[in-house]
Symmetry: none
Subunit: 191 residues, 4 copies
């Protein structure tokens, strides 16, 4: 197994176990076992568990954003752009349930809150498309005049909730439903 493969295996095992059982349900020893490496090996790639967790998150963001941005066209109408991004995100979650659950675990934890705080207060970037779109929409009076934070909450809140319901098997989303959900989200924020 190459060095890169080993890191990959650790990342995969950590993602799976943390997504499924949470941070506390995924001891380092268990991650090591699932990755088929020694317990100490993880520490060659990640200084400690906290750093493993946050680095996993960063990996995830880097992997997610390009997928969502794909096919995004700035010259399309705002509504269309919102639908594009929204369905893209929801679809990504549904197609990558592990990623989704990992994100949930992360956001619902001290790491996540801190990360969120940094992002909101420090203008730390990652995916500026939604922000730009909201700001444009508000200034052009197409979107309700809410603070940015609330527009995020109004858009992502239902999106995340529906993704969770699908992944937990409470409902089965198909392309039609996905579109209708995102359209409903749009109805929520549009003027």
């Amino acid at each position: 197994m190459s060095k890169q493969d080993k890191r990959e295996e650790i990342v995969r095992a950590a993602m799976e176990l943390i997504a499924e059982h949470g941070f506390h349900g995924a001891p380092m020893a268990m991650i090591a076992e699932h990755a088929k490496v020694g317990a100490g090996t993880i520490y060659r790639y990640f200084e400690n568990k906290d750093i493993l967790i946050t680095e996993l998150y960063r990996d995830l963001e880097e992997k997610m954003f390009p997928v969502i941005r794909e096919g995004y066209e700035l010259n399309k109408p705002i509504r269309e752009r919102f639908i594009h991004l929204g369905t893209g995100l929801l679809r990504y979650f549904i197609e990558n349930p592990l990623d989704f659950r990992y994100l949930e675990q992360f956001h619902n934890s001290p790491y996540g809150v801190e990360h969120r705080r940094d992002k909101i207060l420090g203008e730390k970037e990652g995916c500026h498309e939604f922000r730009d779109l909201f700001e444009e929409g508000v200034s052009r009076q197409i979107i309700k005049d809410f603070p940015l934070v609330l527009l995020f909450a109004l858009s992502f809140g239902p999106l995340v909730s529906t993704a969770r319901d699908h992944i937990l098997g409470f409902v089965t989303l198909d392309d039609d439903l996905i579109t209708r959900i995102i359209e409903a989200c749009w109805d929520g924020i549009k003027k």
Copy 2:
């Protein structure tokens, strides 16, 4: 201290500590200390920590629902009823941040998922108002024709997200904003 008082103290202490520090940041010994009872005493009232956690949740629901229902009038128009319930709930979260944070901790945990599954699949309810309202709205073609689960997600998703943002200090909600948020939620589900 009476038997009931003791239980009450344990519940209060557990709620506070878990809401603030999470399940893993609230050891039984610490809960006992804050409740001013012996560590072993908790086990007279709750078989183990898991059961304490789920009973706490049930207590919370029992406490919450009546508050939200207050002033709820079935003969009012659907939109008005939705606004009433929604603002009630959001206001409750904001006024009882500890309760809110406990609910979040609970939902984002194996307990929460199981509980949710039971609730949705087993139809065992605590608060049927929203369900009734949605069903009526759908059948009267006022609300979008989504499965019930999704209507919940579309309504509660943003509601919970905004409550979280407020409690974490990312935004400050006043009565005006609260109303506008719930109206936006309504826009999301109304036909």
Copy 3:
């Protein structure tokens, strides 16, 4: 076993193992085993290993000083007083080899250096007899005019070395030798 007995057992086991094998040769688990208590029990009495180590040291000082002071008379000549304290200390070490070796381990460690620094710089007390005696001796021109620290080194250095040699079995000290050694120490510092 009473609570006090348990603490006593832990202290005894820790002393023995650390004296014999050093701090790193005496894992908490081994101390617990020798004390016939659970590993976690130690932490009820000592916050952590560092605190166990320093508290053991303090216990030792509290136990030692009175023994050495016994029969100490301020109105005797300086030489006689020095011999009294010196032989008392050397005898104590020989009769309590565990204590001696623990002290050695302690002094030869970050804890010990810090403790020593505090004592010297901060005038932290414990046993002022030697200091008083040295100061009196210097001012009365009976003892060589060295800084206090050096008088300590000149007196305790040989004392500790001979105690170590005895305890390690390189020599066997009897009352006669003990007296002659302390007299030699006196010859070293007297004018």
Copy 4:
């Protein structure tokens, strides 16, 4: 880098790190890094860490003794010879604090005790000057009639103690003080 150079680098790195941080504060990996060799390379030169530690000690002795012997003249009076050796040793410690601290680490450890036992019981020497001097002094009734071991203790005890105090910064030794200290040591053992 030649084979000899590599060994040299390892020895230097190990000495520095162990002297400064103790045996347990100097992991093999850190030693390797400071020596700019691979971690495994150390094991080509030293079977294991214990052997590295004892060989380091032997290296040190081989380096020290010639320095101290320098200028030593057997035809000088005993007192003068003692002063020569003593000041030489004390000066060496002060000028090579790393060496001194390594020696201290070594002597205060299972290795040191074993080594000392071998040396004293097995008569295997490295520096016979002190021994010869003591034996001559005792037989010529110039030095107190103590067993050799105790004469060592009476001479080296204060010497080492004062060196330690200097190195830890509790006192600053200059040439004058050094001489006076060794003279005091002489006073301790002379008849």
